[in-house]
Amino acid sequence: MADETVLEAAGVSRVFDVSSPWLQRTLAREPHRLLRAVDDVSFTIPRGTTLALVGESGCGKSTIARMSVGLLAPSAGDILFEGQPLSAARAQPGLRRRMNMIFQDPYASLNPRWRVRDIVAEPIRAFAMAKSRAEIIERVGALLARVGLSAQDGEKYPHEFSGGQRQRVSIARALSSDPDFLVCDEPTSALDVSVQAQILNLMKDLQRRYGLTYLFISHNLAVVRHMADRLGVMYLGRIVELGPAEEIFRAPRHPYTRLLLDAIPDLAMIGRARAQVGGEVPSPIDPPPGCTFHPRCPLANARCRAEKPAVTLIGASQVACHAVAEGRTEP
């Protein structure tokens, strides 16, 4: 039971068609333009643990989040929920009930025209998990209390709450279908720093209490360090390093991970020069050949520019980098 895998992604890719409209494309003889948002990504999440995915904007984190709950279908590869293909799992209400999602923007994720009570009760009603109106109200009250709100708050509308409180409502809704697996798409990035800590602690507390499994998406390394058991670092649609969070923070291997960790603001670093991640993320419509990180990589050589690196197991981490595999650590 301890090692049971809740979610497994095997070679998952997702391609978006970003071509111009048909008429314009035909008249101007433009080719189809495809955006490879996620490229051959594999990971597993054991029960009761948190896998965090970090990366810059546009690296495909949110696309993975959406694919993991079935909002998007992968273009290639398989996502398995408790060993079953995700689409088959989602066709059964009993399994669909056990996954839910917490969204980034607490101002957009709650329907402004609905009372909080109805928002939180929606999954309970959708899965017919309560027999009577009174039972629904009771369960909603308990859920609101569990996330640190009061049962009376259910009468209010979302605009009467602050961002942090709204995110608590969002969490209450996600919990109301008794899920095992929650996808959290940057759940704290729209909140004040002081509120972020409260929400993260609440989420950790809930995880301990209910044995929840999290897929946690973030671009904030400090948040990830607090939450993650395992960490995946993404760059341009690929996971470049995947391993136990502690080990990656202690001994990052991939040059991109090292640059990211170097960029964390740190009081001890004031006044000292730090390595910068130069340049911009290349376009995922027309990614560079070979290792996609080579234009910004201090260790890049001819092989990096020509050949896609395969995943190598180093220690407990998987790293996709020629330089690390070859043992080159200095430019």
Partner: protein, 309 residues
């Protein structure tokens, strides 16, 4: 319990921003009063009108074309004079406004329902359905609405026998005007739906596996209906004018069921022989009705626009 709740709701409504901005706007108060007066007159016509213009027995040709009471030769039995069949103009206007309002409101409701359903569908389904529905709307919008209404009315007129047609004319008009006014509602609803459907609360509903129909009706519809209310009011004025135009052109309601447009057309024949009241009074009633509804619509649009607060 329910009474207390209703009282609370009323107190909330009187306390709301909308009511505050209503009280602060003399134009809104004035036009609301005028609209209320006209609507009450129309709705209560069978109770308060001095005569029944449909009661052929009470008509007397001797009374035909009497001037208004305040002119020489006028009688106070007919305060606004009579038409060529001896019908009291005031009563005629009240009953006419009744028909005009019925046709106008029903036509716009029809347009709202068709437009909202198709707009939600186009916005939420996207792709081919969206393209198809919006191209139809675009094509229809290139023609004036009155032309579409004329066309629909003409086709139905040709398709059904004359005596049947006279009985169903009201419904034909409602359908013709309604169908000529749906694209605006559809485009507005589609635009808002495109914005709403990508918001996270819709995603949250999709994650738990709600059906598209349920998401559209319970989540998106309440969030896109605001602008529809404003267009409803503005279109209502136009629809009443559409009906008047069709009746004036003689393809609307027959003289046995005179709407304001029919009255104006009848009066038009007497305009140059000096009996101006037969056309001017129904005309004034029409102008007052459309103007007050439009002013209310303008006010509602500004009051609901947060950027103009």
């Amino acid at each position: 319990m329910s009474e207390a709740r209703a009282a609370g709701r009323l107190a909330r409504a009187l306390d709301s921003d909308l009511f505050y901005s209503f009280r602060r706007s003399p134009v809104a108060v004035f036009s609301a009063a005028m609209a209320l007066l006209l609507v009450l007159g129309a709705v209560l016509a069978p109770l308060i009108a001095p005569h029944d213009p449909f009661d052929l027995v009470s008509l007397n040709l001797m009374d035909s074309l009497l001037p208004p009471a305040f002119l020489d030769g006028g009688e106070w039995t007919f305060p606004l004079g009579t038409d060529n069949q001896g019908r009291d103009m005031l009563s005629g206007i009240m009953y006419g406004a009744r028909i005009s309002l019925t046709v106008g409101v029903s036509a716009v409701l029809f347009a709202v329902i068709v437009g909202t359903v198709l707009g939600l569908l186009a916005g939420y389904a996207g792709e081919a359905i969206d393209a198809l529905l919006m191209r139809i709307a675009d094509v229809q919008l290139t023609f004036p609405a009155i032309l579409i209404a004329l066309l629909v009315d003409g086709v139905i007129r040709a398709a059904v026998p004359r005596d049947v047609h006279e009985q169903i004319e009201v419904y034909v008009l409602i359908f013709a005007i309604g169908i000529s006014r749906w694209p605006q509602f559809a485009r507005t609803v589609r635009g808002s739906t495109l914005v709403e459907r990508n918001k996270d609360y819709v995603m949250a509903a999709r994650v738990i596996g709600l059906s598209s129909v349920r998401i559209m009706l319970s989540h998106i519809l309440p969030n896109v209906i605001g602008p529809v209310l404003v267009i409803f009011t503005l279109t209502l004025g136009l629809a009443i004018l559409d009906e008047a135009t069709l009746s004036f052109l003689g393809v609307g309601l027959p003289p046995t069921q005179p709407s304001l447009g029919t009255l104006i057309r009848i009066g038009n024949d007497f305009l140059f022989s000096g009996e101006w009241w037969v056309t001017i009074f129904p005309g004034l009633a029409l102008v007052a009705m459309v103007l007050s509804i439009n002013l209310l619509g303008d006010w509602l649009r500004d009051a609901l626009n947060p950027r103009l607060r």
